[in-house]
């Protein structure tokens, strides 16, 4: 029963964590550009304002789809902390992302549609990593739920160096950071207007933001999973990884989709595949 409470706690607390993280991110980014930057709670002000704006739906199906996006993102975290099988969690995570693609594709704006296509490409690029990561963690620990991996008496991270490095590359996609933010086309670089979210306004855009907060919290939970013996060390590791992402975000320009797909797949195949293969070969 205890694990179900952790799942519920995630649903309640993850948006607070993700929103604060986004606030810190914007402030740190501003400092890197010698600006002062917005208040720490700016992401919450933004979402609060979006909820007060008029919502215009180009296609009435976008609302339910985006609600599904938020619900399944929250469910991914809840299932992970609630003690569901790790591989299953990876698949629900992919499903949640798919809702966003469908919502963006449902609008007939070419920008939104191109954003949806690019999001499918980055999903294609990132998904194999999460499945291999879960497989690696399960292989090392011999158990397949979040709680059991955390209770496992040895560190899993030292046996998964390839997966740790590849995590940094895939997190760039999932955290929507340059050079891999090809689908969202964020504020300072707008070659696709706003990519995926071009046709989303008011409440719908607020859903996307909140879902992204959940997504950041899920990635943090994945990092804790890799540093299973001590969750504070997992949090610190996530903090370091996030700081690196912000640095890369501020110092690179957006890549083409071919480069995103090739580099992510190469990293997944060589680093993760090699890592998992080595575990099976040495483990025998």
């Amino acid at each position: 029963m205890n694990t179900a409470i952790y799942g519920l706690l995630f649903v309640v607390l993850a948006p607070l964590f993700g929103g604060l993280l986004a606030g810190v991110d914007r402030r740190v980014s501003a400092r890197m550009q010698s600006r002062i930057g917005p208040p720490l709670l700016q992401p919450f002000y933004d979402v609060g304002k979006l909820l007060q704006k008029t919502t215009r739906q180009v296609n009435p199906v976008a609302g339910p789809l985006l609600l599904g996006h938020v619900v399944f993102m929250a469910a991914t975290g809840a299932l992970l902390l609630g003690g569901t099988d790790l591989i299953f969690v990876a698949f629900v995570f992919a499903l949640a992302a798919l809702f966003l693609v469908l919502a963006a594709g449902s609008a007939n704006s070419p920008y939104s549609f191109t954003g949806a296509e690019r999001e499918l490409i980055v999903l294609l690029a990132s998904e194999p990593f999460f499945i291999l990561m879960m497989a690696g963690v399960c292989k090392v620990s011999g158990v397949s739920t979040f709680g059991d991996v955390l209770a496992y008496p040895q560190w899993v991270a030292p046996q998964l160096p390839g997966i740790l490095i590849a995590f940094l590359i895939v997190a760039t996609i999932k955290l929507r950071k340059s050079p891999f933010d090809i689908s969202t086309s964020h504020h300072p670089h707008q070659e696709l207007v706003s990519g995926l979210t071009t046709d989303m306004s008011g409440r719908l855009l607020a859903y996307v933001e909140v879902a992204h907060w959940y997504e950041s919290a899920i990635l943090c939970a994945f990092m804790v999973l890799l540093f299973n013996r001590s969750w504070p060390i997992g949090l610190v590791a996530f903090g370091i990884a996030y700081a690196l992402e912000v640095l890369v975000d501020n110092s690179t320009s957006r890549a083409k989709w071919q480069l995103v797909l090739r580099s992510t797949w190469a990293a997944t195949l060589v680093l993760c595949g090699g890592n998992v293969l080595a575990l099976f070969v040495i483990g025998r």
Partner: protein, 142 residues
């Protein structure tokens, strides 16, 4: 202070400006003025924007574009006309292809004078725009 005044997102459109005002608008985003301190974001997407910042005057070619952008912005929204040209047509007012200021085609809430308008006065115009935005929100809520 309501959430609208903490998070005004701006859409910037250049009508037939000489680019003087546009450079000053962009200067507001640089480290010297850093309007992101007040939650301002230059979105580039009318569907995300709260404040429509227009520089330059209206000509025959951009009437539809200005109206289209304005109509795509969800309520509540305000329009800030930046610079002499956007306010009245400026030195181009009597040119054969110029209609005049932005208020010829869409309702303008705040006029920011200047040729080119200084970043300080643009920021001041946006602040007044936020006050107008707040009024519109209250009117809508009641």
């Amino acid at each position: 202070m309501s959430l609208f005044s903490r998070s005004p997102w701006i859409l910037h459109y250049d009508g037939s400006s000489c680019n003087g005002c546009d450079i000053e608008v962009l200067a507001c985003l640089t480290p010297l003025y850093d309007v992101e301190r007040f939650g301002v974001i230059n979105t580039g997407n009318p569907k995300h924007a709260d404040i429509f910042l227009v520089t330059g005057s209206v000509n025959e070619r951009n009437i539809d574009i200005i109206q289209n952008l304005y109509n795509q912005m969800p309520e509540p929204k305000v329009v800030v006309a930046v610079g002499a040209c956007a306010c009245s047509g400026g030195i181009f007012a009597r040119a054969y292809n110029i209609q005049g200021g932005i208020d010829k085609v869409i309702p303008v809430d705040v006029y920011v004078p200047g040729c080119a308008a200084r970043p300080e006065s643009i920021i001041d115009g946006v602040v007044q725009g936020i006050a107008a935005l707040e009024e519109k929100r209250k009117k809508r809520a009641s």
